[in-house]
Amino acid sequence: MGSTLDTSGLATPRAAGLPRRMGRFNRWDTPWLNPKLLAGVALLLVILLSGLLGRFFWDTDLAFSGKAPLNLPPVGFVNTRGQAGTWEHPLGTENSGRDMLALMIVGAPNSFLVGVVAAGVGMTVGVILGFSAGFIGGRVDDVIRLLSDVTVTIPSLMVLIVIQSLMRQVDLTTMALLIAVFAWPTPTRLIRAQVLSMRASGYVHMARLSGASTWAIMFREILPNLTPYIFASFIGNATGAILAAVGLETLGLGPQRVPTLGGTIYFAINAAALLRNMWWWWGLPTLMLALIFIGLLLINLGFDEIANPRLRRSSQ
C-alpha cells in the first residue's frame, strides 16, 4: 500500500547497554564539547602560553640568581623587613635574588615538558607492550603481565630517589625518562585489556577471514578504536609524571641548573620560608602547580564523562 514513511528524525533507540567503545556518537549530542574538558584545556593553554610567550616580554635571565634585591614581596605587599614590592619584580623575589615572575615563566613549561615526555615515552612503550601482550598472548603475555604487576606495586618515588640521589647532575629530560620507566604499566594493562576484548569481537574475525595480516588488523582495525582510550590515559599519565617530578624536585633531587617549580619550593622550604612568612616564595609555585593539576583533572573528568554518558546525566 502507499504509505509514506516518515523517516526524518527517527529516534535511534538507545541500547540497554551503553557503548563501550567510543567510536560513534549520537547525532544530537556533541560530547566533545564537554564543559569540564573545555575548561581544563583552556586553563592549561593559558598557563602554557604565558610560559612560552612570557619570555618575549620578560627577562628570563632573572630566573637565575643574582641581580635582584633579595626577598621582595609581590607588588602591593610589604615583607617582614618593611620593604615593599615593586613593579620591577611584580611577583617578588627570593633569597638568592631570583625573580619570581621569571621563575614562573620558565618553570611552568618545564613541568609540562616533563609531563609530556614522560607520559609520551611511557605510553609508547605501554602501547607496544600492551599490544604484544594482548595479541601474541602466551608466554609473552605472561611475562609482560608479571613485569607490569611488579612495577606497579613498587612505589616509584622510592626507586627514583635511590637513583637520582646518586646522580650528580640530573637534567630535565633524564628525569622525565626515569619517570617514564614507571609510567608504562598502566597503559600496558589498559591496551592489553582492550586488545583482548577486541580480538574476540566480530569485526576482527571478519578481517581475519578476509585474509588480513596481523599487522593490518592491528593498525587498521584495532588501533583507531583505541585512540580515545589512549588520549584519556595520556592525561592521567602526564598527571602522574608531573606529580613524581614535583616530588623529586621538592626533595632537592631535581635538575639543579634548570629552574623548576618544585625546585623553587625546595629552596623555599630549606630557607624556612614558611616561618619567615615569605608566602610568595612557596605560594606562587604551589598555586601554579595546583592550577596545572586542576586543569589536568578537569580534562580527565571531561574524558570520563565523554566515555560514560551515564555520568553526564548525573552531573546535570
Binding site: M1, S3, T4, L5, D6, G9, L10, A11, P13, W28, D29, R313
Partner: protein, 338 residues
C-alpha cells in the same frame, strides 16, 4: 481454557490497569513508550502480553510494578490491585505490596541475581524483609521446599549465581517469586534468553507452579508459539497501545486487528507454507505518533477515518476486543471491559 470469557463481567479483575502512560524523556521530546494501555487480569488466569521489540510491553510491566527509572516516568493512568490504585500509594506502601501481592520473574536471569550473595540468602532476604525475622531452621526448610518446587537440587541452596546455568538461574527467580505467595506474578520474557531445550523446562516449571499455587500471571514475550501453549488470553500491543485482546484460540483462529493478523500470519506452521511477508517494525517516530490510529502507516486496510480518529477497544467477539475502525461499535454494551 476459555472459561474466563464467560466470567468477564461476573468477576472483578484482580489487577486492573487503565490508561497507563509511561513516557521517556529525550532531548528532542518524549518517547511515548506506553500510551494509554488498558488491561484486566482475572483471578488465576494467565494473560500473555505480546508484541514486537519496542512495542512497550516490558515498559508497561515496569509501569505496573512502579519500577520506571529516569529518563522514563509514569505520566498517568491507574493500576488497581485488589481495589487499591498503586500509583496513588506512598513509597512505603508500595514497598510493602511488592512481592507479597505482586511479584516479578525477570528476564535475562543472566544478571538478575546479586553476584555476591548465595541463592539462599537472596530468597531469605525477601522473606525476612516482609515477614520479619524468623527461625533459621524453619526458613531453611521453607527455602529448600521452594527450590524443590521448581525442580532444583538441594545443593543450589549454597551456591552463588555464577555457579549456576542460565536455566537454573531462571528457576531460582521463579522460586523467589513464589516465596511469598503473591496473587499476581509478572513474568517478563522469562524464557527468552535460554536455548530451546532449557526453555521448555522453564516453561513447564512455570506452568506447574501456576497450577499448584493458582496465582494470576502476566506473561510477556514475543514468541507466539510458546505463548500459545502457556496462556489463557493474549493481549497484543503495538507502539505503546493494546490493539487486541482475545482468548488464545480465538486469537489464533480469527485475529481481528490487522496487526494481530500480521503476527499470527508470521507464526510458522507445519501444515502450510506461508509466503515470507517482510514487515518493517515500528515505522513512525515514537516521539511523534501520527494522529488517529497508531497502526495507520503499516495497515493494509487503512481508511480515511483511521488518520483522524484513534480507535478504542471494541468488543468484536466473545471475550475478544480490538481497537480498529474496521469493526462497528457494538450495540450498547456498557463500559469497556475486556
Amino acid at each position: 481454557m476459555s472459561h474466563s470469557t464467560s466470567m468477564t463481567e461476573a468477576n472483578a479483575p484482580v489487577l486492573r490497569v487503565r490508561d497507563l502512560r509511561v513516557y521517556y524523556e529525550t532531548p528532542k521530546g518524549d518517547v511515548l513508550a506506553v500510551d494509554g494501555v488498558d488491561l484486566d487480569l482475572f483471578e488465576g488466569e494467565a494473560l500473555g502480553l505480546v508484541g514486537e521489540s519496542g512495542c512497550g510491553k516490558s515498559t508497561a510491566a515496569m509501569g505496573i510494578l512502579q519500577l520506571v527509572n529516569p529518563p522514563g516516568r509514569i505520566v498517568g493512568g491507574s493500576v488497581e490491585l485488589g481495589g487499591r490504585d498503586l500509583l496513588k500509594l506512598s513509597e512505603e506502601e508500595v514497598r510493602q505490596i511488592r512481592w507479597t501481592r505482586l511479584a516479578l520473574i525477570p528476564q535475562g536471569a543472566m544478571n538478575s541475581l546479586n553476584p555476591t550473595m548465595r541463592v539462599a540468602s537472596q530468597i531469605e532476604d525477601v522473606i525476612v524483609a516482609h515477614e520479619g525475622a524468623q527461625r533459621k531452621a524453619a526458613l531453611r526448610l521453607r527455602i529448600l521446599e521452594l527450590l524443590r518446587r521448581v525442580g532444583l537440587p538441594e545443593r543450589v541452596y549454597d551456591l552463588y549465581p555464577h555457579e549456576l546455568s542460565g536455566g537454573m538461574k531462571q528457576r531460582v527467580c521463579i522460586a523467589m517469586a513464589i516465596a511469598l505467595n503473591p496473587r499476581v506474578i509478572i513474568a517478563d520474557e522469562s524464557t527468552s534468553a535460554l536455548d530451546v531445550v532449557v526453555q521448555r523446562v522453564v516453561a513447564q516449571t512455570i506452568q506447574r507452579v501456576r497450577h499448584d499455587l493458582g496465582m494470576a500471571m502476566i506473561m510477556i514475550g514475543h514468541d507466539m508459539g510458546l505463548m500459545a501453549q502457556m496462556v489463557d488470553r493474549i493481549a497484543v500491543m503495538y507502539a505503546g497501545k493494546v490493539v487486541e485482546v482475545a482468548p488464545v484460540r480465538a486469537l489464533f483462529a480469527a485475529p481481528r486487528h490487522p496487526y494481530a493478523q500480521l503476527l499470527i500470519d508470521s507464526v510458522p506452521t507445519l501444515r502450510e507454507r506461508k509466503p515470507l511477508r517482510s514487515s518493517e517494525g515500528i515505522t513512525h517516530d515514537p516521539r511523534n505518533p501520527p494522529p488517529g490510529c497508531i497502526f495507520q502507516l503499516r495497515c493494509p486496510h487503512v481508511m480515511d477515518v483511521c488518520r483522524s480518529a484513534a480507535p478504542r477497544l471494541k468488543r468484536v467477539g466473545p471475550g475478544q476486543w480490538a481497537a480498529c475502525h474496521l469493526y462497528a461499535e457494538p450495540a450498547a454494551e456498557g463500559g469497556r471491559h475486556e
